[in-house]
Amino acid sequence: MNKNKGGIMKKKNEKNKVDFDLSTHSLSELIKVYENIVEFLQFLEDKRIEEEQKGATPNE
């Protein structure tokens, strides 16, 4: 597996620099990673608030 072809994901943070190497995961972990992401994306989608429909109080 060529790790450079999407195999390594890098996340930079101000404090820590973390390498997320997918090649260290077991096959079931890989699927779990994907499922978690998709599930979270769905969560975000559901959580989004329609700005015009929401009866919010006016700005100050």
Binding site: M1, L27, I31, N36, I37, V38
Partner: protein, 546 residues
């Protein structure tokens, strides 16, 4: 350094908490909240795309390319040898080898067909004559004046190649109301012509046999049967489920690959269900033998399943011929007298019918068509000729029964085996279909053909072993024979397992274990197949979303 899964889990948890605590009371709050959502979604969409790319690449790296064997070529070879077998079959004659018995079955059961199909059957008869170099014309169809009228019109349309049978339909209807037996009489006309051209058909078949033998490098029937066994074995070996098929079954969801993991309850219960003394799965030698026996058992159970499907047909035959089985060591008494007697009655009656017809028809016209008289005499003569044809139809049916009975008696013996009966019915399509229709109480031609095709596949299968030693006229517990054979090899089978309704269950269990063996022999693993199936599922779900 934490791994990505851990990071994702922690990050998601943190973000979920964050979103549940963010204020959303004012428009501004909501705007900020949605911006944060969008920002997170963007990041996670990026993760999703990258992880997916990785999963796909990984799954592709597990794929196995199976050897590209030329299955079609092997299938063609088997069917070419089957064709030689059909032509060389020593049990039947030119009549069956030309396929006339099949057409006679169809036209005799015309009630199961529509008008178009009837004309297709007539065309098939004419084609077979043409194959043997016989071009039939209107004058050949003189069984009755109505057969003549219909067939002259039929040939005119056929020869003009206009395929417009509407006009013919009107002629048929007109004839049908005065002579409802018209189709039966067309059948008789063909039977008479087949008999008339017997020598030509026999020569045609001889030539065809020689050509096909030469083409397939076969010298005789026995050699052909040996060739079929070898070709079938090669085809079965190539065609049997391989690791690529198993991967495909898992990817398409036909099998649940989760059941194949070592700790799966299904897997363990299948092993213990089929083993008398549990073997250590690491004992390679014992396991190889176990799988070899399972492969043979699977073939035997499939054969037994076919036997059970056609058991009512065997019982029907037994009922009919049990009383004619000769004593041990003797041959059945084949007496041709009855057959010859019917043959001579047919000859006499057809000569008489011919005389009537000659009086009905004036003479040949210039185009070679017959024209029938229109004077008052002809009505009386036509009625007499139709009565004669009706008697002849009954005589031909008696002839058929006697013909088949003689064929049966020529091979019947006290230890007549099930496989001999299979070969008998395989050799005589007309009688096989008639028996199938009666025994299974079938009402449509399509159903008869379906049963008949299944029967032929069973009869032709060189893997049949069990039925080759089962005497038809004796009571045998085939299930018990199979069970005892495999219990000696530590395979746990009970009579309940071989109940007709449970055969599929036991076959599924065997297939399951054979799949495990196939996976273990291959360069892949259950886990990798599971992964490929998961990735496939992801791809399908994503393409549905798109």
């Amino acid at each position: 350094m934490s791994n990505f899964l851990k990071f994702i889990e922690d990050d998601i948890q943190a973000k979920r908490t964050l979103f549940s605590t963010m204020p959303t009371k004012t428009k501004r709050d909501i705007k900020k909240y949605n911006e944060k959502i969008d920002q997170t979604m963007n990041i996670y969409e990026g993760y999703r795309a990258n992880v997916k790319k990785y999963l796909e690449a990984k799954s592709r790296s597990f794929n196995i390319k199976c050897r590209d064997v030329n299955l079609e070529k092997l299938k063609k070879h088997v069917s070419a040898l089957e064709r030689v077998r059909f032509l060389l079959n020593p049990l039947n004659t030119y009549f069956e080898k030309m396929g006339f018995d099949n057409l006679i079955y169809q036209i005799s059961n015309y009630a199961d067909f529509d008008f178009k199909s009837l004309n297709d059957i007539i065309n098939s008869f004419l084609d077979k004559f043409e194959q043997a170099g016989i071009k039939l014309t209107g004058t050949d169809f003189d069984y009755t004046c109505y057969v003549h009228e219909y067939m002259v019109s039929f040939l005119k349309i056929k020869n003009n190649k206009d395929d417009n049978y509407d006009q013919l339909s009107a002629i048929f209807e007109k004839i049908y109301w005065v002579n409802p037996e018209i189709i039966e009489h067309i059948e008789l006309n063909f039977r008479k012509l087949i008999k008339k051209y017997e020598r030509k058909f026999t020569n045609y078949i001889h030539k065809h046999q020689k050509d096909t033998m030469l083409e397939n490098k076969i010298n005789n029937y026995e050699e052909c049967m040996e060739g079929i066994k070898i070709a079938h074995a090669e085809l079965n070996k190539t065609d049997k489920e391989n690791i690529c098929d198993i991967i495909n079954l898992a990817k398409t969801g036909v099998i649940d690959i989760n059941n194949y993991f070592e700790d799966s309850k299904t897997r363990n219960s299948n092993y213990s269900a089929l083993m008398i003394d549990s073997l250590h799965l690491d004992n390679k030698e014992a396991m190889t033998k176990f799988y070899e026996n399972l492969t043979k058992l699977k073939t035997n159970i499939e054969e037994y399943s076919n036997y059970l499907k056609f058991e009512p047909l065997f019982e029907d035959f037994k009922k009919e011929y049990e009383k004619l089985v000769p004593a041990e060591g003797t041959k059945a008494n084949v007496n041709n007298t009855a057959l010859k007697n019917i043959e001579s009655q047919i000859k006499d009656k057809e000569a008489k019918l011919d005389k009537f017809n000659k009086r009905i028809f004036n003479d040949h016209d210039d185009a070679g068509f017959l024209e029938y008289r229109s004077d008052k005499v002809s009505k009386h003569l036509i009625d007499a000729s139709l009565k004669q044809a009706k008697d002849l139809y009954d005589l031909y049916k008696s002839y058929d029964q006697e013909y088949f009975k003689n064929k049966v008696l020529s091979i019947l013996h006290s230890a007549f085996k099930v496989n001999e009966l299979l070969h008998l019915y395989y050799s005589f399509d007309y009688f096989k279909k008639m028996a199938i229709k009666k025994v299974f109480n079938l009402t449509t031609y399509a159903d008869v053909v379906r049963y008949s095709d299944d029967f032929d596949l069973f009869a032709m299968n060189p893997n049949n072993i069990v039925i080759n030693s089962i005497p038809l006229f004796e009571e045998y517990n085939i299930a018990k024979i199979i069970i005892n054979r495999y219990r000696l090899d530590n395979i746990n089978l009970t009579e309940e397992n071989l109940n007709p309704n449970d055969l599929k269950t036991v076959l599924d269990k065997i297939q399951f274990l054979l799949r495990i063996n196939e996976i273990e022999k291959s360069p892949t693993s259950v886990e990798k197949i599971w992964f490929m199936a998961q990735v496939e599922k992801i791809n399908i779900m994503e393409s549905k979303k798109e």
